[in-house]
């Protein structure tokens, strides 16, 4: 079990601690955006892996997607733990490019009848400096993984290219 990492509170108030729990990789081969007011995205994982001290398993291929928009991440998908348990992941979170650019290429004027350019997909093979702070909620069956449904969890993520994937690392808020 990793050591807790502690942070001070305000004044003489209580502080807080987190502890590394596990990591998840998600691999992608499509990224779609709808040119709606919210710039709704659709980024389904082909699959992925789950590893770390508190959970091991895999991401069920195409079990869902990130359906986020300009307000941030909004994913629903399924993890299959090494013991076969299916765990529902609901992940909201903050995401920002650090180079001043936009993730969205669809919110541009277009000729009538022309479909939006999905160059959001091209970014898959482009290194994108970004800051991601995911805060997932889980629903796990009663048993060894049910702590996931009772813990607030915060993490970080890094996107990689060739092949297109994102690694998330999660910390239990103690």
């Amino acid at each position: 079990m990793p050591e807790p990492i502690s942070f001070p509170g305000l004044g003489d108030g209580p502080g807080i601690a987190i502890r590394y729990a596990f990591s998840v990789s998600l691999f992608f081969n499509e990224r779609i955006t709808i040119d709606s007011h919210s710039q709704r995205a659709f980024v389904p994982p082909m699959g992925g892996e789950v590893w770390g001290p508190r959970l091991q398993g895999r991401v069920v291929p195409y079990s869902g997607a990130d359906y986020g928009n300009v307000t941030g991440l909004d994913a629903s998908y399924t993890i299959e733990a090494a013991d076969g348990a299916l765990i529902y992941v609901m992940q909201r979170g903050f995401m920002k490019r650090l180079d001043g650019g936009s993730f969205w290429s669809t919110n541009q004027p277009r000729a009538e009848g022309e479909l939006p350019e999905q160059s959001f997909a091209e970014a898959a093979n482009t290194p994108v400096p970004m800051r991601v702070r995911p805060a997932p909620l889980f629903d796990a069956p009663i048993g060894p993984h049910d702590w996931l449904g009772r813990a607030i969890i915060i993490g970080h993520a890094q996107r990689h290219s060739n092949p297109d994937h994102t690694r998330f690392s999660y910390y239990e808020v103690l």
Binding site: F7, E49, F94, I154, Q158
Partner: protein, 153 residues
Amino acid sequence: MTRQFTPPAIGRKDELGTVELVASFQIDLELEEPAYEVTVRGRRIHQPVIGGTISGPRLSGKVYENGGGEFGLVRADGTAELFTRLMLIADNGEWLYTQATAYIRQDGYARFQAIFDADRQGPHAWLNESMFIGTIEESGGGRMRRLNFYEAI
């Protein structure tokens, strides 16, 4: 669950970057007496917020008294899931929105995650760019709660 995918080894490289938590401010909530209903989803708690204050080095102001409240659900495992929606008024007069999801467990664990909406052109725009997590302290027989907000940087 038949579709197969074998992740390339590259995806598993350990990458223990850091998440740092910065104590940012606290919100002291005043709540009405809770009302309970047994629903198909569990025991539902309705608890409007009637006021409160925000204080701390990075934000101060007040909680709008007609701005929302806590919508809780006591689950089969005894854990209460709280969904809180609040409207806040910062000291500069600006309206802010926050929503928080919390777990209140029978073992005393009370933690939340939260996001904010703030004016993109105002001094609190940084709130739009962060996830917050924090601790909850109860007092006043359930009519007062202090939420300690930490920015995850």
